[in-house]
């Protein structure tokens, strides 16, 4: 007798596929939000497993801060071409020009916060009623309390005190016109699961996840890229370091770590012994104890 045992990766994958198919079936205009980061790559693979050999029953959308790592944009375009799906790009820059998003005074400020109005505007433009995000509950305390189907009101806001109970795998996707739902199919995955899955599925990831030499400077206990978007202050010395990134975000706020990891299995071994959490390198989260909750209430991913 076989034991019919599923590994934890198979179990997580199956749940995520179930969520994607459920959204495809119950919503009229879903969209998959894509950043080029590892979590959105998992989402694409899950979508392939859910719907192939047919095409995805939804487009893919990238909310572009304009502060991207060039390596990630190149990777994005190549990947979308390869899988043959439709990509929509909406830029924070355009939203700033239209006056939908207002940039904070002073340089060096991340545009992460400005992604929210840009995203809400795009949701309105295309009348999306469900948006897949790659958020995971192990990333942050506020995310740990978020439902897989996360209900947003007409203003795109999340109300953590008024969430629908979510039982078994029975998702309540009922909304009124103008409202929408953010869906997080990989809520229960951890950073380690993600890398183990990338290895198992042999997925290509942007090169900035691997160790490379980069001009960086030290600020707020982390290494930041010296880039046209953010220049070091006089007191901050630019040095070349052997680093890699753990998350792919806005170049202005994504901190690098010193690392020798050259391949996926190096990364798995590295994070297994890590003592700093993944978003510990994101300056936008360190602002306050409830920074993520506050951003989510405004309509952030």
């Amino acid at each position: 007798m076989e034991n019919y045992q599923l590994s934890h990766l198979d179990a997580l994958e199956s749940e995520s596929i179930q969520i994607m198919r459920e959204v495809a079936a119950e919503f009229e205009r879903p969209v998959l939000l894509f950043s080029g980061g590892k979590d959105s790559l998992i989402m694409l693979r899950i979508a392939e497993k859910a719907f192939r050999p047919a095409r995805f029953p939804f487009p893919i959308m990238h909310v572009d801060t304009g502060h991207n790592f060039p390596e990630v944009l190149e990777f994005r375009d190549r990947l979308i071409e390869e899988i043959g799906e439709r990509l929509i790009v909406r830029k924070v820059e355009d939203a700033i020009e239209k006056g939908i998003a207002v940039e904070t005074e002073g340089g060096d400020v991340s545009r992460n916060r400005l992604q929210s109005p840009t995203l809400l505007n795009a949701i309105e433009e295309f009348k999306f009623d469900a948006a897949f995000g790659g958020g995971r509950r192990d990333e942050e305390k506020a995310r740990a309390k978020e439902r897989i189907f996360s209900f947003r009101d007409e203003f795109g806001q999340w109300d953590p005190k008024n969430q629908r109970p979510e039982l078994w795998n029975l998702y309540n996707g009922r909304i009124f016109s103008g409202e929408n739902i953010r869906v997080f199919p990989i809520s229960d995955w951890t950073e380690l699961d993600v890398w183990q899955y990338i290895q198992r599925e042999n997925l290509e990831v942007p090169s900035i996840y691997f160790s490379h030499d980069r001009e960086v400077f030290y600020r707020d206990n982390q290494w930041l890229s010296a880039s046209p978007y953010m220049a070091p202050r006089d007191s901050e010395e630019v040095v070349v370091k052997n680093i890699r990134f753990r998350t792919v975000g806005d170049m202005v706020c994504t901190g690098a770590i010193e690392s020798k990891a050259l391949c996926v299995s190096d990364i798995i071994n590295e994070i297994a012994v890590f003592r700093v959490s993944e978003r510990g390198g994101r300056a936008d989260d360190r602002f306050s104890e409830t920074a993520m909750e506050d951003r989510k209430k405004e309509g952030y991913f």
Binding site: E15, A25, A50, P53, K141, R164, R174, F176, V276
Partner: protein
């Protein structure tokens, strides 16, 4: 040390819920499991340290790690279910940390719905109290097969074996009415870490495993239903491309049982039968698939199958009926009323239902039935008769947590208002005859 990059050493996933009030030290226990299993990171620890200094406490409050919402931190209580993750070399754990106050019973039910195991905390100084009974009842109602009663704060009763034994006896007497298969008792001190990850030197009289090692080794493989083949059809894959001109595959997550290529199956509610031609998982063709895999199947015959239908094993079919008898936990301020219509979601089908009768309400603290009850209020549980617009394809919850569960939705507000667990029908409803169909 296990090689984490080795795909051939898969780890098993175990979901458990913890219930208890903040006073029981539940969040401290989870914090301790994360901390001692090295799943707590330095920056998280640093954030706790700075919160400690701000609040003027002398001990790090590990509860701050799980109580993430602003309102929770302000009020010092856990409001919502928080999910936590940690891993040891052979298991990955997903913890649903649920609040214990009676007004958050619905959150407890939510956390328990997918759990393999429940950890119930008892304060050694207080023993088995109303809340302990409520939590344990909910664990049994939601069909959780394993329960661990952690007698916490043993440090405050001088690690006294008699205290532990008395609480254990109390609980054993109560729990005979619950029908939980497997109950384990562990004396712990979450604050000091006694019997959490390592065995305590303070309690040499305890000869069981510490909590973590119990969680790592409890046998859960047999808890899945691998007997009744059930595939609710979630999505029909039709590429409509030249390459896949006539391709049709029926996809979904196997709710229970095992399906094999070549096996004869029945499609409900039509009652037509066919054989499984292929089992697909993306680019792989599988000879066999089992719960809870998400797969797609192709059938030998061109039968009409759409979302909401169920592909089932021929030799063992579920009930098909419009009359549903269920235990319902109510989750909304506006009470459940007899005669009222609700939307119902069951497996992947959406339907309408009307509440025909409330047979009784259960006092979730005493387990007594109140036959005179006429409505179910927030956080109340009762036995209910429903009639659905279309026949439901179901099994009893006690044998199948997937095809035996449903949620009720208020059609006017779209709020999720109730959680239901279907009871075995008293009389077998007349089953459709399948033999007559020749395709």
């Amino acid at each position: 040390m296990t090689d984490l990059t080795d795909e051939n050493s898969p780890t098993e996933l175990l979901r458990f819920s913890t219930c208890g009030s903040v006073d029981d030290g539940k969040s401290t226990l989870i914090g301790r499991l994360l901390y001692d299993s090295k799943s707590l990171f330095e920056d998280q620890l640093a954030a706790l340290e700075s919160a400690k200094q701000l609040s003027g406490n002398t001990e790090i409050n590990l509860a701050n790690l799980t109580d993430g919402l602003r309102a929770e931190r302000e009020q010092g209580i856990t409001i919502d279910v928080a999910y936590r993750y940690f891993a040891t070399p052979n298991r990955k754990f997903i913890v649903a940390d649920t609040p214990g106050h009676v007004q958050y019973t619905r959150n407890m039910v939510t956390g328990a719905s997918t759990a393999n195991l429940a950890v119930v905390l008892v304060d050694a100084r207080k023993g088995v109290i109303e809340q302990t009974r409520r939590h344990s009842y909910i664990a049994s109602l939601l069909g959780i097969p394993h329960l661990v009663l952690c007698v916490n704060k043993m440090d405050l009763v001088d690690y006294d074996q008699d205290v532990f034994t008395r609480i254990r006896n109390d609980f054993e007497e109560f729990s005979t009415r619950l029908g939980i298969q497997d109950i384990t008792y562990i004396p712990v001190s979450a604050l000091g870490g006694d019997n959490v990850v390592d065995l305590s030197e303070n309690m040499p009289w305890y000869n069981g495993p510490p909590l973590l090692s119990y969680l790592e080794n409890v046998h859960i493989a047999n808890d899945r239903n691998l007997t009744h083949g059930r595939l609710p059809v979630q999505w029909v894959i039709r590429p409509r491309s030249d390459e896949y001109h006539d391709f049709r595959a029926y996809s979904g997550q196997i709710a229970s049982g095992v399906f094999k290529v070549g096996e004869e199956v029945v499609i409900l509610p039509s009652g037509k039968s066919s054989r499984i031609k292929d089992i697909l998982n993306f680019e792989d063709k599988l000879p066999v698939a089992y719960a809870p895999m998400s797969i797609a199947v192709r059938l030998e015959d061109e039968v009409d199958v759409s979302r909401g239908d169920m592909i089932v094993a021929k030799d063992n079919v579920p009930h098909v009926s419009r009359d549903i008898d269920a235990m319902v936990c109510w989750m909304h301020d506006r009470p459940m009323l007899t005669g009222k219509h609700y939307a119902i979601k069951h497996t992947v089908s959406n339907d309408k239902t009307v509440v025909k009768e409330l047979l009784y309400r259960v006092d979730i603290n005493t387990l007594e039935s109140d036959l005179s009850a006429t409505s179910l209020g927030l956080n109340e549980v009762g036995r209910v008769k429903l009639k659905t617009q279309n026949p439901l394809i179901f099994d009893a919850y006690t044998i199948n947590r997937s095809t035996g569960s449903f949620i009720l939705i208020d059609g006017a507000t779209h709020a999720t208002v109730g959680a239901g667990m279907i009871c075995e029908p008293a009389l077998e409803p007349p089953m459709p005859k399948y033999e007559g169909y020749v395709i």
